[in-house]
């Protein structure tokens, strides 16, 4: 069996009286692609916020490669190897495309304020390295984010390119696991197809383990080793796409009680 990379044990979170995530167990193995599905409000994005440290769980423990990351600051968790994209894009819009990616290298670079002011040889070497890293991450997306686009502000990009840039920025943090929050949202069928290929390529060429939230079932079917279905913060099904898609509870969660029997 492959190595456990990310594991959640009995994780719960409540906002006031509302239980958003209840007693959730979830694991992602090394180089696995796991999809999280569920209706709106099922707690999928909250799950990502828990893993990345934006929220701390009320109960339970989250471990990354055997080490507990519960209660750590988001930037500390990122340094340990968790990177994410956002469902509602959160790029640094008024910075250039390349700077967006370069900024994400902060966690694994060192030059301090004084060294940066003096531009010491070590600092300049590190800067060159960051630049090359950014170019490499952007080159992953073919010609789309290359050349003159590097020096354009991120707000000038199209919607699909912004989604690509978010992924490029996430990979620049040198993560072990990538959390993609609806990477195909708002994309046309051609672009959705490309995203499916891209996620597969992120694993084969990039070597990343991937946890992805997705509503488009074609994408989910195309990429997933395993699918986890959430509803009201509770895991209602887990298994291959076939198993989950035909699960009575999943169909009911999406379409309402009793609909599964009517088939």
């Amino acid at each position: 069996m492959a190595e456990r990379l990310l594991e959640l044990k009995g994780v719960s979170l409540a906002f006031g009286g509302l239980r958003v995530v209840s007693d959730l167990d979830l694991h992602v193995d090394e180089r696995e692609i796991v999809s999280v599905i569920g209706p709106n409000g099922a707690g999928k994005t909250t799950l990502f916020n828990l893993i990345t440290g934006i929220y701390s769980p009320d109960e339970g423990d989250i471990t990354l490669a055997g080490r507990s990351i519960t209660g750590l600051q988001p930037h500390e968790i990122t340094r340990l190897g968790v990177a994410r994209t956002f469902q509602t894009l959160r790029l640094f819009l008024n910075m250039t495309v390349k700077e967006n990616v370069m900024a994400a290298a902060y966690g694994h670079t060192k030059a301090g304020v004084l060294r940066s002011m003096l531009r010491t040889p070590g600092m300049r070497r590190e800067e060159r390295g960051i630049g090359e890293l950014a170019e490499e991450k952007l080159a992953f997306f073919g010609e789309r984010l290359m050349g003159y686009r590097w020096n354009q502000p991120a707000y000038s990009l199209s919607y699909a390119n912004r989604r690509r840039l978010e992924i490029a920025r996430a990979t620049a943090t040198n993560p072990k696991i990538l959390l993609l929050d609806e990477p195909a949202a708002g994309m046309n069928p051609v672009e959705t197809h490309e995203i499916t290929d891209l996620i597969a390529k992120l694993r084969t060429e990039g070597g990343y383990t991937i946890l992805v939230i997705e509503h488009d079932m074609h994408v989910v079917e195309g990429i997933s080793d395993r699918v986890v279905a959430l509803d009201h913060g509770v895991k209602i099904a887990e298994g291959t796409f076939e198993q989950v898609a035909t699960s009575t509870q999943v169909v009911e969660a999406y379409l309402g009680l009793g609909t599964a029997d009517r088939k």
Binding site: Y106, A111, Y148, R149
Partner: protein, 491 residues
């Protein structure tokens, strides 16, 4: 006007949008001015930043040579001090995106520390080479401490807390003549007879034969060069990128591995360090320090510089500092203020309407309204028009035949005319087309009347009113400041 140069084929023969060849030929689609102006603009854009800096410093260093009067040197020195302060504030506001209203207190910290450690007050006379770096670091450290309790605050809350700190600083300095029975800050009387800078055991005199010593101007310029280059390097480092990231989106920055709270403190401290350094230079020259030097007015002036020039752009805030300080100086002298007023009027008119018939119409009505009003007024009573036009020169002489300047101004005239002017300007914003165009001339004449009779006599408030008007106009025309980059909030 900007006009697209001929673009690549948009018909079926050209490369499809987004494909490699289309991407490679992006240069053809760039918007640029056509003709000779476009070539010049393209050339200017390619000039590296350091060439602009060298050119600027060369011009700035030649200024005292061209005009050796003490007044010009003094204004030049103050301008460089403001340039330094604006550069420091730009780190916090422009890059860090933090609304720091306590900034001037750090300028005060640097000034007071220098005054305490380099004067007869306590008998310390630290050598400059020790005092200036130590106070810069101390200023940054105090900035870090002040930022510590407010590091989780953002936006309005941070602004209020830091403004409180500024008030606290002023209060403590004003009442610091009895701290535990010791007179530390000299209270409202401040600290006098502060040492000038010294180098190799020699004191660098503040005055030379009664004229402001030019050496301090060059010291300030050197400090400006160092601070400008150091901060520019910092902006193009991981720290600078992280600051701008957190300005754009603090949550995304945190999740991308940047420790947002620490970075906020760091930008606070960097700004405070620059302000403290500036304080030592200003105090060494002034040879004294008072609590009132660090009032909220100074803060507002520095903010005006940063906003006017373009928050986030180093060249912009420097330009803003020069424009605002020189403007405030010019407005103190009625003669210069008058010339400035009419030059700005003409420039504003030409920029708005260009050289068109409308410009001629507005200028014509303005002049006509003036001469008619003047003729009517002088026919009614000679006393209405024989007032004294302050200042010499042909401009004043000519103006006395156009603007009504009574020898004695009834008490109700200034407030009423001033109020009328504001009403007229507000009315102008509510009408369009020919109505606006025909009202513009009389409004300009009315403001000329107010300017000559009311505002020129009160340079104190007038300076700040003009500054405010300038800021409003600029915010309408260029919301990002003169050299600020275009900013997009949400698309």
């Amino acid at each position: 006007m900007t006009e697209p140069t001929p673009t690549s084929e948009t018909s079926g023969t050209g490369p499809a949008v987004g494909q490699d060849e289309w991407v490679a030929r992006h240069g053809e689609r760039r918007l640029s001015r056509s003709g000779a102006l476009g070539v010049v603009e393209e050339r200017l854009r390619r000039v590296p930043w350091w060439a602009w800096l060298v050119l600027f410093l060369a011009i700035a260093s030649l200024m005292p040579v061209v005009d050796s009067s003490g007044y010009v040197r003094r204004v030049g020195f103050d301008t460089v001090i403001y340039m330094l302060l604006a550069l420091g504030l730009n780190v916090v506001v422009g890059w860090g995106g933090l609304l720091d209203l306590g900034y001037v207190a750090f300028f005060g910290v640097g000034s007071y520390l220098y005054a305490i450690f380099d004067s007869d007050k306590f008998g310390y006379h630290l050598p400059t080479i020790v005092a200036v770096p130590a106070i810069t670091i101390a200023g940054a450290a105090i900035g870090l401490l002040v930022g510590l309790p407010s590091r989780r605050l953002a936006g309005d809350y941070l602004a209020i807390v830091t403004l409180f700190f500024l008030e606290l600083f002023e209060t403590v300095m004003t009442n610091g003549n009895a701290i535990g029975g010791h007179n530390v800050t000299g209270g409202a009387n401040g600290i006098l007879r502060v040492d000038p800078f010294s180098a190799f055991g020699h004191r660098i005199a503040v005055e030379h034969q009664g004229v402001f010593a030019v050496s301090y101007y060059y010291i300030a310029l050197a400090a400006f060069l160092v601070v400008f280059v150091a901060l520019r390097s910092l902006n193009h480092s991981r720290t600078g990128r992280a600051w701008r990231s957190l300005r754009e989106d603090p949550l995304a920055a945190e999740v991308m591995g940047m420790p947002v709270n620490w970075l906020k403190l760091l930008s606070f401290a960097c700004g405070a360090g620059v302000a403290a350094l500036t304080g030592t230079i200003a105090t060494a020259l002034n040879a004294s320090v008072f609590p009132l030097n660090f009032s909220p007015t100074v803060l507002i002036v520095i903010y005006a510089m940063v906003i006017l020039g373009g928050s986030g752009s180093q060249a912009g805030v420097v330009l803003g500092a020069i424009i605002v300080n020189v403007l405030l100086q010019l407005l103190q002298n009625p003669y210069q203020a008058r010339v400035l007023f009419y030059v700005l009027l003409v420039v504003g008119l030409v920029v708005t309407f260009r050289l068109s018939r409308r410009t001629a119409f507005v200028a014509g009505t303005t002049l006509a309204v003036g001469f008619v009003a003047h003729a009517v007024a002088s026919a009614v009573s000679h006393a209405w028009v024989n007032g004294n036009t302050s200042g010499p020169g042909s401009v004043a002489n000519w103006l006395s035949h156009w603007v009504i300047i009574p020898s004695h101004l009834a008490q109700w005239v200034p407030p009423v005319s001033y109020g009328l002017m504001i009403v007229a300007v507000l009315a102008l914003t509510q009408v369009t087309g020919w109505v606006r165009l025909s009202l513009l001339g009389p409004t300009i004449y009315l403001s000329a009347f107010v300017w000559e009779n009311v505002m020129l006599d009160n340079p104190g408030p007038t300076r700040y009113i003009v500054l405010g008007v300038l800021l409003i106009v600029l915010m309408v025309l260029r919301p990002n400041g003169l050299l600020g980059e275009r900013r997009v909030e949400i698309i």
